[in-house]
């Protein structure tokens, strides 16, 4: 019998087995996965309780998965095998359409949608009576691509009917017609700030502030590259990196930005240094913040805006600052609504609720 084949097979097997084991033992552990935007499991400490309950063994397996040598490459290998070779429709629920990575949102949760509308109604009753209150919803990318690319989606029409019929005292502004798939990043869930002209104009018209806003072309474009969006790590698919553009003008350059979480320190509207952080989109208004304010020292009005928002609002808000003396952004995922009165004085501001369909469909995230 030819001995080369058995020998080669055994060698390949044991080189992989012992090679990865050695790599695992010798390579230092990583603390974070930037592509997946999460902390990686560290070597668990054994205790009698954790061993007897097998929690220790579960943590150890998670640790081994997280710290495995060539982990990113292996994840990419799996994704490509499933998506490109086996032609599965999605990788971890994410698919590609015209080069854009899109999360397949297929389950409509009516109770969450109604909860979101009720939360807005409650806020109106508590803080916003007799103020000009507007509400708009941002469609996710799946809205534009699911039908054409034969992927699953929930019934957006039904969602908006449920949502808008439940809203009271709030003027709804429809943004669905102002956007297209190309207005979003390829690798990320968010919209591109430089593509928000139609959205801003529609909102401005509804809110009566169009005359106080400069033309979008008048802003200076600043580019950052590469921007690796959230879907790169989630799907492990080969997705083209984006160019992140942010728009500046004298108002934004001089704006006074303060976060309730970092009292006393002055921030800038944009934080380019955050591009390489856990979430590159944090470039816009420093990412997740419970309450953050932008003051316009060049304002020719005393009018203020309160923007109840999710992360999408971070890139739109700077484009509205010219029309106001102050814009206050509130993210109800990080601050409970009953404490808002301690941080924000509600007087006669304009109020805009701006949420993506993902948040509307997970309304209970709003506290």
């Amino acid at each position: 019998m030819n001995k080369r084949k058995p020998m080669a097979t055994i060698v390949v097997f044991f080189v992989i087995l012992w090679g990865f084991l050695l790599g695992f033992l010798l390579l230092p552990d990583a603390a974070l996965s930037y592509t997946e935007r999460r902390k990686l499991e560290q070597l668990p400490k054994p205790t009698v309780e954790s061993i007897l309950s097998t929690e220790y063994m579960k943590s150890l397996e998670q640790y081994a998965q997280d710290q495995f040598p060539l982990r990113e490459e292996l994840r990419a290998m799996k994704a490509q095998l499933q998506y490109q070779v086996l032609r599965q429709g999605d990788s971890q629920g994410i698919y590609l359409a015209n080069g854009s990575a899109i999360k397949m949102e297929a389950t409509l949760k009516p109770e969450e949608v109604l909860f979101c509308a009720d939360k807005i109604n409650d806020l109106y009753e508590t803080y916003l009576q007799d103020m000009n209150v507007y509400c708009a919803v941002i469609p996710d990318k799946n809205y534009f691509a699911a039908e054409e690319f034969r992927h699953l989606s929930f019934d957006y029409g039904r969602m908006m009917t449920l949502f808008t019929q439940r809203l009271s005292q709030v003027q709804y502004v429809d943004l669905f017609g102002c956007l297209s798939l190309s207005d979003y990043y390829l690798s990320d869930a968010h919209w591109r700030q430089e593509a928000l002209g139609p959205v801003r104009d529609t909102l401005a018209k509804a809110m009566g502030i169009q005359d106080r806003l400069p033309d979008l072309e008048s802003y200076t474009r600043q580019e950052l590259y590469p921007f690796q969006g959230v879907y790169v790590g989630q799907s492990a698919l080969p997705i083209e990196m984006d160019r992140l553009v942010y728009l500046t003008n004298p108002v934004l350059n001089q704006a006074i930005v303060q976060s309730a979480e970092q009292e006393g320190s002055l921030l800038s509207v944009y934080a380019p240094e955050k591009l390489k952080g856990m979430d590159g989109y944090d470039v816009f208004l420093h990412g997740a913040q419970a309450i953050i304010t932008m003051e316009n020292p060049m304002a020719r009005t005393d009018k203020e805006l309160i923007l109840f928002r999710d992360s999408f609002g971070s890139s739109l808000a700077p484009l509205l600052l010219d029309a106001y003396k102050k814009v206050t952004l509130i993210d109800l995922r990080y601050v409970a609504s009953q404490y808002l009165g301690d941080f924000v004085e509600f007087t006669d501001q304009d109020v805009l609720f701006l949420y993506s369909t993902g948040i509307v469909n997970s309304g209970r995230l709003l506290r």
């Binding site: 058995p6 992989i16 087995l17 097998t54 799996k78 095998l81």
Partner: protein, 462 residues
Amino acid sequence: MVFSSITFLYGFLPLILLAWFVAPKSMRNWVLLLGSLFFYAFGQPSFVLLLLFASVSNWAFALRLSRTRGTKGARQILIAAICVNLLLLGFFKYADFLIGSVNQVLGTAIPLLHIPLPIGISFFIFQSMSYVIDVYREEVVPQRSLAQFTTYVALFPQLIAGPVVRYGDVEQGLRNRSSSMNQLYSGVRRFTMGLAKKVLIANSMDELCSAFRGANEQSVLFVWIYALAFTLQIYFDFSGYSDMAIGIGQMLGFRFPENFRYPYSSRSITEFWRRWHITLGSWFRDYVYIPLGGNRKGKHVWLRNLAIVWLLTGLWHGAAWNFALWGFLYGLLLMVEKLFLGKYLEKSKVLSHIYVLFFTLLGFVIFNADGMGGMTRDLSSLFGLSGLPLWSAETSYYLNSYFLTLVIAIVGVTPLPKLLAQRWEKKPVMTILEPLAVGLLLLMSTAFLVDGSFNPFLYFRF
């Protein structure tokens, strides 16, 4: 610990193999014993004592049997041994099932015990029982060394999900096993193939089953796709695990019995059960069916024996009534085949295959149902009796999405890949292709494990 985990594949396995290779021959059983106990403790430390108790008690019963051979006492010892084993199995696996059934029938409210199921209890108890019975029958010589016997009971490759290895299968190996490069090579190939079957195919089929369970829009076609996916999943899951067990056994110098021989290519249910979980089927044949009289005591006793064996087979798989019904269905089909259907099945290859596949699919829908209520729901959906539409957009999406995986899985359950491999085996190009294929399958499986969230073995619960 499961074979398809990073901690096993890149922790336990390379280290135990290294220890086994470098240990002197006289120490190798100790390496196996300590490694096996660690392996079991990693999954359920609190039940290591149970495993040791089963080993010590059966070892002692067998020794006592050998000393009382030919006397009335021997039979009493055998009965005591069987009772101890069945009590262990009954208490840990069936106590809550019995209490729940009594509560349902009598309307009582006896509290459930909520005892966690010791991993692999059905396997190591059946193996221990077979050993004592074989000693009683003088088919094997009792093992004098407690360490060697415990090594057999706790032998990690087959400890938690089979095959059901009898003492006679490994007796020689425990005493003096030789290992050769060819054996190691066969083991490596078999293990890698089993790992790929489990991780690449069975887990993908599980994703499809989960998509069905979580679907917003189910349909009759989706129920059939689910039934097909689960039928493929359980085959690749269980036969993959058996392949890994046999492969590791070969690497360590053991020869474990085959457990699967392309069951879905059968032309009758009788043939199916000669090809599916072979070691369990032969266990019930040798230790229940034949001792009850088999088919030698008239038609009524024969049919009764079949009913008993298949009810027990069903309940062995799970402590719930749908498992009992699943076993009963097969018992019934076997009776029908033996009484009159068998001769008709031989006449048409196509129809007999369709018949086997239909009842296998149906059987596994019952098997995987969530209790009797879930079973009724699934079966009525399967036949369009629950008001589901015939088709939905979601069905179409998942069918398209998993179409290639389904095709690969369907081809994989036939003997075709093996025939092709045999035809190509001697070609010179295989000197390069085969090591490449083994490496690639191992890497792909690793990639799925590193990124995977779902991974339990279905047969863990047995």
